[in-house]
Every structure is written in structure tokens, then in C-alpha cells.
């Protein structure tokens, strides 16, 4: 392995972390339900990349592919559930504001 590629791996890790930070920041700060889901998706892109990177580093790219495909399927279904919940909340409140969700507290 050349030295260059080690840098590539480190670079991927750094970019991935930054994307997770961005996604989580979006998750925490936004008031819009769909934006939350977008934040989650951004973070998931980074996680998917980590899995592929892991397979690439230890030479088990086929196994990593199998993992990634499963992860993608799950990701989609979670997104569907989340969007479904968001739409149902929209039907009740007429908007997608997260600040509506304060009935349960204490």
C-alpha cells in the first residue's frame, strides 16, 4: 500500500465525521419534521461510507457490499416510516413544526 492511500482513508474518515456532525446538528437544531429526516439521511451517507471503507481496508469488500445493501434497505424503510409519521402529524396540526410535539413532557 502506498502512503497516498492511507491518506485517502484518513480523509474519508474525516469527511465522514464532518458529515455526521452536520447531520446531527441539523437533527438537533431544525424545527421542520422533514428536515430532521434529511439530517438523518446525511448522517447515514457517512455511515454507509464507513462500512465500505472498512471493507476496503481489510480486503473484504464483498462482505462490506452485503452489509451496505442491507443497510440501504433498512434506511429506506425507516425513511418511509418517518415520513409517514410526519405526514400524519401534518394532518393533525396543519404544519410540520416540531414545536407542536410538546404534549408529552415532565
Amino acid at each position: 500500500m502506498s502512503k497516498m492511500e492511507a491518506y485517502v482513508e484518513t480523509g474519508m474518515l474525516v469527511v465522514g465525521f464532518l458529515l455526521i456532525v452536520a447531520g446531527c446538528y441539523c437533527l438537533i437544531r431544525t424545527y421542520h419534521l422533514l428536515k430532521i429526516i434529511i439530517g438523518v439521511e446525511v448522517a447515514m451517507k457517512a455511515v454507509t461510507m464507513f462500512v465500505i471503507l472498512a471493507g476496503f481496508i481489510n480486503g473484504k469488500i464483498a462482505l462490506a457490499q452485503a452489509f451496505v445493501i442491507t443497510v440501504i434497505v433498512i434506511e429506506v424503510v425507516v425513511a418511509v416510516v418517518a415520513v409517514g409519521l410526519a405526514i400524519n402529524l401534518y394532518r393533525i396540526y396543519g404544519n410540520m413544526d416540531i414545536r407542536n410535539l410538546r404534549k408529552l413532557k415532565g
Binding site: F50, V51, N58, G59, V77, L101, L104
Partner: protein, 485 residues
């Protein structure tokens, strides 16, 4: 072996078949029969678990791996061991109680409920039987997704809110767990349990293990979210309060334990010896016990009190795990079992009280003891078990946990765990006093005891609670006698 193999097939096949039958029937027919059909799955599972146990006791083999080949090559591997049998039994028991409660509390969408319940059971069974961390993650997501939908499917305002909060926190947990898995995979090249056992930590320096440390931090946090340990607990009372009570029984009774605690058992089993992990779990457990109890003391919603009590009790289980010793693990698993029984009892009682009086607010209740004797008694038994009063079951598991803490040198934590029992007693006494003791309110004069399957569920769970308490030492001796401990 034959018995275990066919039992495992049944455990997975029966829920799947029931799901298919539910979707094949015409809608009206399914709505009528799906709930009755649902009973088959947990009952089969109880029988299958018992059969497996008998077989394991006979073979005197702690760990049994089963391989199925459905498509030619050797492919699917599952493991059955003593602890996972305890979990499987709890899953079946709580599901049974949940269906009994649902009979009363779920008037519509019964097919949907039954089908999702089957998916949930499948997911939980998968979690405790897989032999691979990634498969564990997959089944974790199944459990998660079916739980969200179970909470939200009745489309009440609060139900949707609780489900959404649960979903977002859960997704955060998934991100953490999956990143952790990627790091472990990066380091070891495999996620199979037996490979991890062999390769983990073999002669590595801390600088080489940085990925493992990062993975452990992320996975402990992720599983702690699923468990509902403080400071990752915030979603738990919301979700458990807002769900239909039949679903709360499931969530509090078993889901948090299978999704959270079991994951922690697995990862501490591999990497628990790393410095720092113990202390993390110690602190998290202690904080959970105290903060959960403090929250529970100030609530006025029946289900919310019980939900916060789950947070507090999860703290005990974490303390048991944190010792990374056999005794601690035993105590933790025993507490999982006990918590499954008494927490389902309490939620079943919540359902009974709500069905009969129409309210969950404990300030509007009082004196139900005279009108609802069975509910009151089962609540008392569950509360005594939770508070760890001998000879109820909770006493023994807490004793084991405290002994494990003591002998592992964490005497301060042992003392805290012991004294925190006072908190437990305090919030449950408050609940019991406000709801069941005292003078009967005039507007409650006409109420009656709940009947039918809910009453049956209460009786069943109370019998299990009391019997477990009385038989606990003998069971322990028996397990030792046949060499399973």
C-alpha cells in the same frame, strides 16, 4: 439437538405464518380472528423454550449452535444458550400478556396490531439468537420499526408524537451502533461472534485499539438509547406513556431489554475488559437509578410513573452488567426476567384501571382496593417485587447484583444501589396509596373489577412473580446442580 433445531424453526416460523395468514384472509375475517390466532405464537414459543431448556439441561451444554441450510450451502447460524432462553421465555410471556390486554384495549385495527406484533416477536427472537453483530443490528431495526408503527398506528395526537420522538432517538442510536460496527469491522475484519472472541484485543496496544475504543463509546451510547438509560432516557416515558397500553406492556416489559440490554450484554462480553467500560456502566447505572426514581416521584400519570420506574430499574441491570463478572451477569439476567414480569403486571394494571375508570391521572383515583381487588393485589405484589422486598423475586436479583458489585470492589455503588431501593419504594407507595388505598371517591362508586383476559393476564403474571420469588433459590441451586451456571 433435533429438539432444539425444530424448536428454533417453530420460534421463527410460527409468527411468519401467522403474519401470512393475516394478510391472506379477507379483511373482515382477519379482523375477527387475527387476535385469537396471535395467541398461538407466544404459546408455541413458551413450549419450544421449555423443550429447548429440557434438552440443554439434558446435554449439560451451555451453548448450542444451530445451522440451517435452506439454499444448499451451509448458511444460517443461530445460537441457543441459557441466557437467550431466559430472554426468549420473557419475550413469549410478555407478548402473551400484551395480547391479553390488547383483547380489551385494541377495539379496531386488530389485524394490524397482530401482524406488527408478529414482526416484533420475530425481531426480538432474532436479536437473542443471531451469531453475528451485523445481523443483530438488522433485527434491532426490525424491532425498532415495528415498535414505532405499533405506537403510531392508532393515530392519536400523543401516539404520533411519542412514536416520532422514539424514532428520531432510535435513528440516532442506529447511526452510532452502525458506525461502531463499521469500526469493529475495520479493526477485526469480521463481525461474527466466534471470530470476535478469537481475534479481539489479542496483543494490541491502546494506540492500535483506538477504533475499538471509538466503537465501544458509540455502541454503549447507542444501546443505552435503546435501553433508555439516563441521559439517553428522554424518549422512553413519552413513548411508553403515549402508546396503547397493550403496546406499553411490550415496550417496557421486553423491548427495551432485548434491544438495549441484550446488545450491551453481547458487546461487554467481548470488550468489557477494556479499561473505562466498567466505570462508564457504573456511572450510567447509578445515575439512571437515581434520576429515574426522582422523575417517577413527581409524575401524576399512572403509565408515566411506571415508565420512569423502568428507567430506574434499567439502572440496576446496567450495574449488574458493569461488573463484567458471572455473578453480575446472572443478577442482570435475573433482573431482566423479574422486570419483565412485574413491569408487564403494572402496565396491565394501568390498562385495567383506565378501562374501568377512564383516567390515568392518579390524583383523580383513590380507594380502588375495595372495588378492584385483583388489580390492587397484583399491583402490590409487583411493587414489592420492584422495591426488592423479600421474598419477592426482585429481592433476589437485586441481592445478586449488589453482591456482584460488592465482590467486584465497587462498594460505593453497591451501597448506592441498596439505598436507592428506598426511592423505588417511595414512588410506588405513592402510586399505590393514591390509586388503591384511602377513601373511595364518590364518582368512582360504580366501578367494578375488570374481567376477561385482562384479569387472566394479571393473575398469570402475579403468579409468575410470586412463584419466581419463592422458587428463586431453588432454581439457582438447580441450575448449579445441572452445571449450567
Amino acid at each position: 439437538m433435533q429438539v432444539i433445531e425444530s424448536s428454533t424453526v417453530l420460534i421463527f416460523a410460527v409468527p411468519l405464518v401467522i403474519f401470512l395468514i393475516n394478510s391472506l384472509f379477507s379483511k373482515r375475517l382477519a379482523e375477527k380472528f387475527s387476535m385469537g390466532l396471535a395467541y398461538v405464537a407466544p404459546i408455541t414459543q413458551i413450549v419450544a423454550t421449555a423443550a429447548c431448556f429440557v434438552q440443554i439441561a439434558h446435554l449439560k451444554q451451555h451453548d448450542i449452535i444451530i445451522s440451517w441450510d435452506l439454499a444448499g450451502a451451509v448458511s444460517m447460524r443461530f445460537a441457543v444458550h441459557t441466557y437467550s432462553l431466559v430472554f426468549l421465555f420473557c419475550i413469549a410471556l410478555v407478548s402473551l400478556a400484551s395480547i391479553m390486554v390488547a383483547n380489551r384495549t385494541v377495539p379496531q385495527k386488530r389485524t394490524g396490531f397482530a401482524s406488527l406484533l408478529m414482526m416484533l416477536i420475530l425481531g426480538m427472537n432474532g436479536i437473542v439468537m443471531v451469531t453475528d453483530l451485523f445481523s443483530l443490528y438488522v433485527f434491532l431495526e426490525i424491532v425498532g420499526i415495528s415498535s414505532f408503527v405499533l405506537i403510531a398506528m392508532f393515530k392519536s395526537e400523543t401516539g404520533l408524537e411519542g412514536a416520532f420522538k422514539y424514532l428520531v432517538m432510535s435513528v440516532l442510536a442506529s447511526i452510532m451502533i452502525l458506525t461502531g460496527l463499521a469500526f469493529i469491522f475495520m479493526q477485526t475484519g469480521s463481525l461474527q461472534y466466534d471470530h470476535l472472541e478469537a481475534s479481539a484485543l489479542a496483543g494490541q496496544s491502546p494506540t492500535q485499539l483506538v477504533l475499538i475504543y471509538a466503537a465501544m463509546i458509540l455502541m454503549i451510547a447507542g444501546f443505552a438509547i435503546k435501553t433508555g438509560a439516563v441521559p439517553f432516557h428522554s424518549w422512553l416515558p413519552d413513548a411508553h406513556q403515549s402508546a396503547n397500553t397493550a403496546v406499553s406492556v411490550l415496550l417496557s416489559g421486553i423491548v427495551i431489554k432485548v434491544a438495549g440490554i441484550y446488545g450491551l450484554i453481547v458487546i461487554t462480553g467481548f470488550f468489557g475488559k477494556l479499561p473505562g467500560i466498567k466505570l462508564t456502566l457504573f456511572i450510567m447505572g447509578t445515575i439512571s437509578i437515581i434520576i429515574g426514581a426522582l422523575f417517577a416521584l413527581r409524575q401524576s400519570h399512572f403509565k408515566r410513573i411506571v415508565a420512569y420506574s423502568s428507567v430506574s430499574q434499567m439502572g440496576y441491570i446496567l450495574l449488574g452488567l458493569s461488573t463484567v463478572s458471572m455473578l453480575g451477569l446472572l443478577g442482570a439476567v435475573a433482573h431482566v426476567f423479574n422486570h419483565a414480569t412485574f413491569k408487564s403486571t403494572l402496565f396491565t394494571n394501568a390498562a385495567a384501571v383506565h378501562e374501568q375508570t377512564g383516567t390515568y391521572d392518579i390524583n383523580e383515583l383513590g380507594g380502588l382496593e375495595k372495588k378492584m381487588g385483583v388489580t390492587s393485589f397484583s399491583s402490590l405484589a409487583a411493587f414489592m417485587s420492584t422495591a426488592g422486598i423479600p421474598p419477592f423475586a426482585g429481592f433476589w436479583s437485586k441481592l445478586l447484583i449488589i453482591m456482584a458489585l460488592w465482590s467486584s470492589g465497587a462498594r460505593v455503588f453497591a451501597a448506592i444501589a441498596l439505598f436507592a431501593s428506598i426511592f423505588t419504594a417511595a414512588y410506588f407507595l405513592r402510586l399505590q396509596r393514591k390509586v388503591f388505598f384511602g377513601k373511595l371517591r364518590d364518582q368512582l362508586a360504580g366501578i367494578t373489577e375488570i374481567g376477561g383476559s385482562v384479569k387472566l393476564a394479571q393473575i398469570m403474571l402475579t403468579v409468575v412473580t410470586i412463584a419466581a420469588g419463592l422458587l428463586f433459590p431453588f432454581a439457582l441451586l438447580y441450575f448449579r446442580g445441572i452445571g449450567l451456571l
